[in-house]
Structure formats: structure tokens, C-alpha cells
Symmetry: C2
Subunit: 493 residues, 2 copies
């Protein structure tokens, strides 16, 4: 997951001045340490589907968190992969809101971290404030635990939830949600979700200067490995052999390079898979207008480039064109390459196997199923039918209308806090929102939450809990933002 | 290093029946356990230049081994890299022979081995006999220690060496011998080497069925890394960023793939670097004749393919054509690829850096210097001048005339043992023989030794010490072959 990009000048958060939730503030403040500890304790218990690590402890722990927060009938939902977790918080309210949580986190290498990634230490970051540093801090345990803290605060203040909640959580988000459909489509769960007006996932939506973004959708994704091997190819060696033999023996690694080269043009910037753009919908006039607004924010481009550590966009595009490309362009990205000897120095071998880890980002109206079929057909047609395509996960793009209740509720709450949210037609990152926005549910679905974090999937991931910048929410203001949002969802037209 | 390929029917080794070295046999037999232990103790002390492991213990240990075997004035020779070791064994004989040793070994991963690679266990291999399994067993500690055992046996039997010896050893063979020239070209060492009639490296030259090969040269090699990075390129990210950004940010990994793709054609089988074949000398009529003889040996092709684990040669060539390609074709081989996430499953990043580990094999009359310059010019011209070319080692091809004393001495000794050696115009593997065969020394140089081993650079490398096949030498017969060879070098015309 990623936040949207727009940077903007922001005034100090206004919620301290809004009188309507004064009942909540003392309770939130009283529970401040408890809320931080909830995040830290959760980070200490990682579940990582790719490594089969933290099962069944991960889903059991998430289930306990949901029960503690007030959900009823919390159960694990078995799938062909890792289990989901399901629960309902029924207070007899007229409206019901669906919640999407993930309890898994991305893999990590402790060597790359400045503090142990499971210790979730509180670290003071200059210009930001006190942050929890740990795997999952912002993606997604910090924001999710912040939402749970909002439920604790409401109950602790003896208030009633303004909406009913239906919780569906999964433990395979970081491998592309391959079995989340089995959770959502279980008949009793699906029936409950059909009663919802919208679905949301808690998120730390603020940038480091306080700016906040709303995405009207996200790209779809397929994650896969392309594996070239002598064994499957029937050419080249079965295992690694001496490199001198290259003169007479084919190389599965060169075979993979040649295959990869057919997947793209323009130096890797444009997919060249046959039929790839057939169903790719160009940006609408309104989408381009939204992007132009985000691109026009003074200083946004410089700050964006700095945060990414890049000096130029593809083809030296201007910021607006680059943002249009980000929203509209399907991609073929190489996440990783592994072949032969990968240690220090060299080793004179001709490897028997080479692997490219790929992610394909999809735009409406492409589907994951269509894209996978086209990739396979392309490879076969180009003479690379022997290369294994091991899909590990993926799903369709998702879209939610700018006019939907969830988007308007988000805008209303952010504005009430003195923030003008920048819209983005589409997050270039991905989340399995399609399962809610697509058939049969067709619900508006998105993300919401004040607060700031960064470093998803990277070392030293953090989530801000005590902000030194009045424009950026710490955890207490973020908790309050969820209370505001739930109340807004209860009444928004 | 690799042995030649020709397989052939062989009679039992005849040296038991040759009366002329009867004086040596009891002494060799008496020292059998000592000879095995010498190999095992040496394997336990690995020196690996690529990992900066085993220094200064490695060269110190080699120096001690040389002193024990009778060499005088043994000293380490400092270079800009790892030290060489130099010594002389002067017995006042009319002729002097140069010895080339390496004391380093290839990297290894103990997880891939069936027994610990430094324990050098004795393992019984069906159809072969008792073998030492360990890193360096056959490449090159086993054969080298076998040669040293020959010196111990000569002295133990109170016999005089038939030739003087000049030893030059290096500790960087496995990284392409980048500083061996500094050893050989030290004026006093060069002066001593100029007194030599030839130079040889001990080797286990027999195949698993007893067949023996003689190479009339070896290809040259350059080992290097190609590194594509956002930092050097000025495009793409400086570090890893979220993969969704591929839509607007260039990928150093795709940049590397594109660059690699320009280096070859025919699916990686033919170098496409500009001017690459300019100085590549085609095979001579005699070289083709030699290859045809090796290719005609019944069963050779099947055994060769089986030993490599391959079912087809490039372009489905017949065996003779494949051997011609092996001897004559320069290659661009990918030893390894490393980019981004290399662990289990996927990780949605756009990597900031990608590395290809490459070896280039060179044929006469290409030179390493010329090849490196052409590679750099090619990359620059194709728009990849930002890709770093980090050369870790390399050297020119080497050739020794079929009519030279060392080749005739080898043939004489092998034949006296009942073996008809198959000639090969060129080993497709590489060794820094050019330093002896090129200017200013211009000495014939090659490899010699009975015995069998396999698995150089691979897991479970082994060296046969007690043979269960009468056609294949165990260590005692291999020791004797070196005694025979030194005596033959003393008299061969």
C-alpha cells in the first residue's frame, strides 16, 4: 500500500478546536500509553505468509485484538491458504460499515534496520516526533490498532458506536491476497457484507508535512516468478556446470534475459506483452483534472522526488505528465533477479536456473485473469513456453466513485480538521479492494485516517505516535479522526 | 580448471608392470597414509581471495608444505593483492622445470554438501573407490599434494631429483589471477624461470573410466561485474522504492537487462560485442583433426552429456561440431544475477541496483586487455556508459605446441602407463598459462598427472585416493606418475 502523492500547505490540525467530540478526547488521552503498547505488542508477533512464519499465532492474536475491541462472534475463517478472521460489532445502528484489515506484514532483514524490527522501539525523529519503528508499524498494524483504539475510547467513554461494523481480515495481503475471496464469499459473511454501505481500511494518510490524500481507486496487481531452468527447457544444464561449457551448452539465464526482453519496450518503461493495452481505459477528463490539481501544488514535485530519492521521471516528464503516467500506465516491474552465484566476487559457473520476480500493475478495465492469460500466451508465442510462470497472488484494479458516500465522508472529516485532501484518481499501489467494489458486492471502498508513517516494505518502517508538528496527527488525533469518520459515515448522504 | 573431454576404452594401468621405477614403489606405499593426510590437512585450511578468508594462514601453510617437500629459500611474494609463494629446489641437475601451484580454493556453501567441505572425509564412491570429499580436493590441492608426495618419496628413497624445480604459487587463481604477473615478473624470479625448459601444474587428468586428456592450451578469461544503479545512471531510484512507482520511475534492473541483451545474439550463444571476433583465430586444420579424433571415440558423447547433465548441445550440434565450438568460440556467460528481493516469494519493490556477474572466455589471438576495452566501448556506444564494469580478474589465452617437450613427455609417460591420451587443441576452461607461454618467457606450459577427481567449483568436490577400478590411478599411482614425468622431462628431446 502507498499513500497518495500530493503535497500541500496545511494549517495546524483543527480538531482541537472542534467541540463536537469533546467527550472522546479525555478518554483517548487516558488510553494513550495503552494505544501505543497495543501497536508494539502486535509488531512483536509477525505473521509472514511468504515465510510461513507466525501461524497460527498471527490470526489468533488478531482475533483476540478484535474481541477486546468489542467485536462479537470473532472466528478464524479457514481458506486454502492462511486463515482470515471475521467478526461483527452489531449495536443495532441503522447503518453498517465494513472493515478490511490485514494481520500479516512484509518480510524483513534485521541486518538492514537501525533498531530491531520486532522490538517496535520509540524513536525520536527530528521534525516528526516520537515514532514506533518496526515491521508493520505503518503497513498496517499502526493504523489498524489506532482504529481499534477508537473503539476502546468510544466504549470507555460509555458511548455507543454510531454504526455497526463487519470485520474481514486476511493474512496474505503481502503475497497478493490469493485466498481472500474465500473469506469474503463465504455465504454468511457475504450476506453480512451486503448490509454495509461502504468498506474501509484504516491508514495513516498524512504526508510528513501533514498533507492528506484520497485515492479513488488502486491498480490491480499480479505477482509472479518467471523461472527458466535447464530441466524444463530441455536445453542447458540441469544444475550449475563449469562456465567454460557455455561455448557448447545453452544458458537458461540468457534464455530468461531474452524472454524478459520481449515483455517490455522503451528500456522497460512500456509493457510489450501482446494485447496488453486492449482493455486499459485511458484517463477521463475528470481524472486528468484531479491530477492537474495535485501537480499544481507549489513545492510538491520537489518534495516528492526527494522522498523517493529520484532526480528524474521517465523520459524527463514534467510532474503532471509523470502523475498521469503513474495513474494510467500498466507496468511490468522486476522486483528481483536471482541466478547462479550471488555472493561476493565471481564463480565460474553456467547456472542451471534463473528466476525473475515480477509484479504487473493493472489499470481498469484490465483483470488479473486476463493479464495472466495474455502473459502466458505471449511467452508461448515468443518461444518461451518452457519458462514457468508461478503466480503467487494478484487481483483486479479497484475503483470507487468520487461521488460515493465514503469519499464524501472522508473529505468532510479531513476538511473539518483543517486539511484539504488532494484527490488521486488511482493509487499506483494495490490493495484487494476489488473484492468489495467488484461483483457481487459493488460497495464503495477505500482508506481513511489521520496520522503519518512511512517505510512500508522497507527497513526502518515507522508510525508517528507523538507528533512535534502541529500539522501532523499523532496517535491521539488519529484515534479521534476514526471516531469522527464513523460518525460521519452514520449520517453522510 | 577442467579436464579435457575425450572418453576412451583403456587397459589396466601398466605402471605396475614397468620395472624402471621399482625403487619408488615401496616408499610411495609406505607414505600412503601420510600423503592422504597431507591433502586433508591442507583442505582444512582454505584460502579464498574473494572472501578475504584464510590470509595469511593460507600462503604460510603453502610455504611450509613447499619447505617440507625440499624447496629452498621459500618466501612469500607480496603483491597488490594476495601474496604468491616462491621457492627453488636446486639439485644441480642440467635441466630445470617450473611448477605452477595455486593455494586458494573456490567459495563454497556447506549447506549444499553431503559432508562438511573442510573435513575432507574419506567417502567410498561406487565404481570409483575411496575419495577425499572437500573443497579443493581436485582443484587443486589433491593433485598438488600428490606432486609434493612424489618429492617426499624421491627423497625418502634416497634418490636425487632428476631436474631442478622452480615453484611459483599464487592465492588468487579463483578470482582470475589479477596479481600473478607481479610474482612471475619479479626480476630474480623471472631470471630463475628463464632457466626452465617448461612449466607444469599437477592435475588429476583421468576421467572416471581412466581416459586421459592433454590440452594444447586454454582459453583466456575476464571475470567482471556489470552494475546498473540509479545513483550512477542519474535515472531511477537511489535505493529500493515501492514497485508501483515503476509507472513513473526508470528501473536500473530493466536497464541492465537491456544492456545484457546487446552483448549477445542467438539466445546468448554468440557474443555481439562490436569487434569481438576481429582477432579470434579460427581452428587450424590440425586442431580440427585432433577434435575429430576425440569426437570419434565410441561412447564419448553419451558419457560426456551424462557427466554434464545435459541432453543437447547448442543448436542440437553433433558431438564433433560441439567440441569444435567448445574449443573455438569466445563466450559471454552469466555466472550470476542479483537484483532487488532474492528471498522466498515476492516483495513489491523497484530495486535501485542490479548486478550481472559475467565471465568472458577468450580464444587466441584475443587479449584480455583488448576484450575489456571493446566491452567498455560497446556499452558506451549502445547507451549504457553508466553501467559500471568492475573487472575482478582475467588474462589472455595460452597455447603450447603439440611438438613441445612438455607435450611429448606427457604423451610418453601416459603411453608407458598403457593410456593413449586424447589431445584437445584447447581447454575451454582457463588458467593463467599465458604468463609462462607469453612474453617474455615463451615457455611450453601445461598440466600433467594420473588420477581422477571431479566437482571443481561445485558441491561435493572429490579426489580419488584408493581406486577400485584398475584403469584409474589412486594416489599412489598418481604419485608415481609425477616421478616418471620428472624423469622424462630430464631426458625428453
Amino acid at each position: 500500500m502507498m499513500a497518495a502523492s500530493g503535497a500541500m500547505a496545511v494549517a495546524p490540525l483543527a480538531n482541537a478546536a472542534t467541540p463536537d467530540f469533546d467527550w472522546a478526547k479525555p478518554e483517548i488521552a487516558r488510553r494513550h500509553d495503552e494505544s501505543i503498547k497495543r501497536i508494539q505488542d502486535w509488531i512483536a508477533r509477525p505473521a509472514i505468509a511468504a515465510e510461513n512464519r507466525g501461524f497460527p499465532e498471527g490470526p489468533d492474536y488478531a482475533a483476540d485484538l478484535f474481541k477486546d475491541a468489542g467485536f462479537q462472534g470473532v472466528t478464524k475463517v479457514e481458506t486454502d491458504g492462511k486463515p482470515g478472521v471475521y467478526g461483527v460489532y452489531d449495536v443495532g445502528a441503522p447503518r453498517t460499515v465494513g472493515m478490511y484489515f490485514m494481520y500479516d506484514v512484509k518480510q524483513f532483514d534485521p541486518k538492514e534496520w537501525s533498531s530491531p524490527p520486532l522490538e517496535a522501539r520509540l524513536v525520536d525523529k527530528p521534525g516528526l516526533g516520537k515514532c514506533i519503528v518496526g515491521r508493520g508499524a505503518t503497513n498496517q498494524k499502526g493504523p489498524e490498532a489506532t482504529f481499534l483504539a477508537a473503539l476502546h475510547a468510544i466504549r470507555g467513554a460509555n458511548r455507543k458506536l454510531p454504526v455497526n461494523l463487519v470485520m474481514v481480515a486476511e493474512g496474505e495481503e503481502e503475497i497478493g491476497s490469493p485466498h481472500f475471496g474465500q473469506v469474503v464469499r463465504r455465504p454468511d459473511i457475504l450476506a453480512r457484507l451486503k448490509t454495509c454501505t461502504s468498506v474501509y481500511m484504516p491508514m495513516a494518510s498524512q504526508g510528513p508535512s501533514g498533507q492528506v490524500g484520497i485515492n479513488l481507486g488502486s491498480k490491480g496487481i499480479i505477482e509472479l516468478e518467471l523461472v527458466s531452468s535447464g530441466a524444463k527447457w530441455g536445453r542447458g544444464p540441469a544444475g550449475d556446470i563449469h562456465s567454460s561449457l557455455k561455448a557448447m551448452i545453452d544458458s537458461p539465464t540468457w534464455h530468461l534475459i531474452a524472454a524478459l526482453n520481449t515483455l517490455v519496450k522503451d528500456g522497460g518503461n512500456t509493457p510489450a506483452i501482446e494485447g496488453w493495452f486492449e482493455n486499459a481505459r485511458p484517463l477521463t477528463v475528470r481524472e486528468k483534472e484531479i491530477i492537474a490539481q495535485a501537480a499544481a501544488i507549489p513545492g510538491a514535485e520537489a518534495q516528492y522526488k526527494k522522498s523517493l530519492g529520484v532526480s528524474r521521471f521517465i523520459d524527463d516528464l514534467d510532474y503532471r505528465s509523470a502523475l498521469e503516467r503513474l495513474a494510467s500506465q500498466p507496468t511490468v516491474n522486476i522486483e528481483g533477479l536471482v541466478s547462479g552465484y550471488t555472493g561476493e566476487g565471481g564463480k565460474t559457473i553456467l547456472p542451471g536456473r534463473a528466476v525473475a520476480k515480477i509484479d504487473l500493475r493493472l489499470v481498469p478495465n484490465m483483470t488479473a485473469k486476463e493479464a495472466e492469460a495474455k502473459l502466458r500466451a505471449h511467452l508461448a508465442k515468443q518461444g518461451f513456453g518452457d519458462i514457468e510462470v508461478n503466480v503467487t497472488g494478484g487481483y483486479d484494479p479497484t475503483e470507487t466513485a468520487e461521488t460515493s458516500s465514503i469519499i464524501r465522508a472522508s473529505q468532510n472529516v479531513y476538511r473539518r480538521n483543517g486539511l484539504e485532501p488532494s484527490l488521486s484518481p488511482r493509487n499506483a499501489g494495490s490493495w484487494p479492494g476489488y473484492i468489495f467494489t467488484g461483483d457481487p458486492l459493488r460497495l464503495p471502498a477505500g482508506h481513511f485516517g489521520l496520522g503519518h508513517g512511512s517505510g512500508a516494505h522497507a527497513p526502518n518502517e515507522y508510525y508517528l505516535v507523538e507528533s512535534s508538528n502541529p500539522k501532523v496527527a499523532g496517535i491521539d488525533e488519529a484515534v479521534l479522526s476514526h471516531i469522527q469518520f464513523l460518525h460521519e459515515l452514520a449520517v453522510v448522504k
